[in-house]
Amino acid sequence: MGAFLVKRLGFAVVTLWAVLSLVFVVVRIVPGDPAQVILGDQADATAIAAMRTRLGLDAPLIEQYWTFLSGAIRGDWGVSLVTGRPVIQEILAVLPWTLELTVVSMLIGVAIGVPLGVWAAINRNRMPDYVTRIASLLGLSFPPFVSAIILLILFAIMLRWFPVISARSGSASAWFQSMALPALNLGLIMAAYITRVARSAMLEVMQEDYVRSARAKGVPWRVVVWRHALSNALIPVITIVGLYLGILIGNSVLTEIVFNRPGLGKLIVGALNQRDYTMLQGMMVIYTLIVVLVNIATDLTYALVDPRVKLS
């Protein structure tokens, strides 16, 4: 277990370095000048040149790369080119919002997706199966920003149950009010993915010999499904949850903007528009870190669910 973690963390460090270097190069290849964006339309060439010097953008690329990398190792990710505030501070201020939204929507996705998938599988080619398959297809093909607007019109404008501007203020009910619609929006997409995976995994497992023999021995149907089959069908579900967490964070960009929630999504859109190099670099560290950590966590979860999986 310890050796596994050390190996994976070592791998994570290499991945981080590769991603950082790639991001460093990419943000500088993409056309668009941060100095121009900061100073606006009316700035003359002299003012723009002065700003580039101030931001350190006129230094040789290799020097900029070294400054950036040595800073990153020391935990100093610089200051935002646009706001002048430390990158790490800006990211940490909104990170909890995105994590919280991702976790809650994932729980919603699992809570809806797993039972639905199982239900569809055990009723293969019957009405529940058809209904579930159509519903999950709908969930997968619906753009999240469209569903977000529909949720807002329905629950915030027509029924007036929730606010349009999602931002909590202290109390548990305020938290719930601000979380409900965005989490539901992302949770339903997640549920659609999980339903499909859970259904096919379940179908496969149900045809295994041990299920057949359990049934032949007279083990009750309910026990066969929930204890014997499901625990084995969960492995692909965990993989998909791990994999789609990245997609979920991506989808949260649109959800955060439509529901007006703070978060990494809003931050990265602003940073991209304004060519805020330092902010983009910092954000990529965070995104990579999240994906790498989730992968490690997924592997660890395999071992918990299936004792046959060895961490080595």
Binding site: G32, V37, Q42, D44, T46, T83, G84, N260, V269
Partner: protein, 517 residues
């Protein structure tokens, strides 16, 4: 008996709750189309979200009457009065006494004004330093007098000491104590509202300045919310979560908002003028006849219809309408398809020409260029559009990569600014002094320069008029139409003035602004 007492008490409570005095709203919530307001230092922020908010916290020495745009409405702000020498090189301002800086930073005096102007003129602390290039010295002969000496006369000294860009007055003690970064997090001015809190991506909270020199504001708080999604902003406005918001530049939006009960929609100035700059340094646009053919092929009225009658208007000159010095009856080329085709043939292109435009992907600007493309096609002019993301667009057009540049902009409302930035040879792109002269125009340099230091108002106007005529004749650019700034607010909000325009791009919120219910 007990029951009667309760009934009376309930009736009384009901009456009180229903009375306007208790129900009146005092918190104004504003929705802005952005994820953030950017740096909160008025000398550094040039974006719409920042400018709209900073104007509620800062004063200038003078201001344009709230709701108006033209410099002819200039009135006292922190200065009570001012005088200038006959050659317009020496200006003396008398300050109001007893004006207090926010958060207990003491009285605003001439020392603060001198400090503010030096700060605005420095490249290190200001994004607007070039506006102050003509400044020789700024002095404080006494506690309430500010004296500005210029190296040469400029078109509008008052325009750069008003509550706009570098003209915003900061409090010296606060700026020095907090430092550049600290001040940008907690700006300190003298305006009707004081900065209280900034929550990134969510809101900025301002509270009433109880010591404001024009009187204590009637509103207690302004909550300035950052809502980048147009649809969410509309829905939040509809659900009553925000009271005032920036709209989208679409006629359909105006119609939809107007259909809502209790809503006021204002199309205000400054209008952003859409102009097609033709790169005269490259063939076939180096041929005057080709440029004229393009000018004749653009139907301003058709584009006006297309963009929306209530939110746009046809351009009148190469300087937007309503600016000081705009030739409102400039001899623009009229729409004439036959003439356009004939000119192309005369120029040696009987089968038409193909020209290239790098264009931003911003929807309203892209749809404009696409509509123009359709119009030009009828005259045999093929406009190839290369859409690129907005920041890329800004970089590439400054690298002289586009033959036709559609630029949409508003400027300080004096003809000099538009003429100098878009049509003076100093401003030609890819030169060390480049600004936004994309067409390589240089036909009116003499008039633009002469008008800058001309102190005789009539002569100055005549010079600007000649400059506009020359630029139009040479077809450096084709002015097409002007797009207004759209704002919607609840009709229970009484701004306290008639909102026709706001140079800071957001409605001024004054000490008199209040909700009527």
């Amino acid at each position: 008996m007990k029951k009667t007492g309760l009934t009376i008490a309930a009736a009384l409570a009901g009456a009180l709750l229903g009375s306007p005095a208790l129900a009146q709203k005092t918190v104004l919530t504003v929705g802005m189309q952005s994820t953030d307001a950017g740096v909160l230092d008025p000398h550094l922020n040039s974006g719409t979200p920042g400018k709209a908010m900073l104007q509620w916290m800062f004063n200038g020495l003078v201001r344009i009457k709230p709701g108006e745009l033209s410099p002819e409405f200039m009135e006292p702000d922190l200065a009570e009065s001012w005088t200038s020498s006959t050659d317009s090189k020496e200006w003396t301002f008398k300050l109001r006494q007893g004006v207090q800086c926010h958060h207990g930073y003491g009285e605003f005096t001439s020392e603060d004004a001198v400090y503010s102007l030096a700060r605005a003129a420095s490249k290190e602390t200001s994004a607007f330093s070039s506006d102050y290039a003509a400044f020789d010295k700024v002095e404080a002969p006494d506690k309430y007098t500010v004296k500005i000496t210029l190296k040469q006369a400029i078109p509008s000294l008052l325009g750069i000491v008003m509550n706009y860009h570098g003209g915003n007055m900061v409090c010296k003690k606060a700026a020095e104590e907090l430092g550049k970064e600290g001040f940008a997090k907690k700006p300190v001015g003298t305006g009707p509202f004081m900065f209280q809190e900034y929550v990134p991506q969510q809101y900025a909270k301002l509270v009433a300045n109880p010591n404001y020199f024009r009187g204590k504001p009637k509103l207690t708080e302004i909550l300035y919310r950052f809502i980048p999604s147009d649809s969410s902003r509309d829905l939040a406005f509809q659900s009553g979560e925000i009271d005032m918001m920036l709209g989208r530049q679409e006629q359909a939006w105006v119609d939809r908002m107007n259909a809502l009960p209790g809503v006021k929609v204002v199309a205000m100035g400054p209008a952003e003028m859409s102009m097609l700059h033709l790169n005269m340094s490259q063939p076939p646009l180096d041929n005057l006849k080709v440029r004229q053919a393009i000018a004749y092929a653009v139907d301003r009225n058709a584009i006006w219809q297309f963009r929306g009658k209530n939110i746009s208007r046809p351009a009148v000159s190469v300087v937007p309408s309503g600016y000081l010095g705009t030739d409102e009856k400039a001899p623009l080329y009229p729409f004439d398809l036959a003439k356009s085709k004939a000119l192309l043939a005369e120029a040696g292109f009987p089968n038409g020409v193909t020209i290239k435009a790098i264009n931003t992907t911003l929807p309203s600007m892209l749809s404009f260029t696409e509509a123009t493309q359709a119009l030009l096609k009828r005259a045999g002019i093929t406009l190839e559009i290369q859409p690129v993301e907005h920041a890329t667009f800004h970089q590439q057009i400054r690298q002289d990569l586009s033959q036709v540049v559609h630029f949409q902009a508003a400027r300080f409302p004096i003809a000099d600014v538009y003429l100098s930035q878009f049509f003076h040879s100093r401003a030609i792109v890819k030169t060390p002094t480049a600004v936004t002269n994309f067409s390589h125009c240089k036909v009116a340099d003499a008039e633009i320069d002469a008008a800058r230091s001309e102190t005789d108002k009539a002569k100055q106007l005549a010079l600007w008029k000649t400059a506009q005529e020359k630029i139009i004749k040479e077809v450096c650019a084709i002015p097409v139409n002007e797009m207004m700034q759209l704002w919607a607010y609840k009709d229970s909000l009484d701004l306290g003035y008639d909102l026709k325009a706001s140079l800071n791009l957001g409605p001024p919120v004054l000490e008199t602004t209040r909700f009527t219910k």
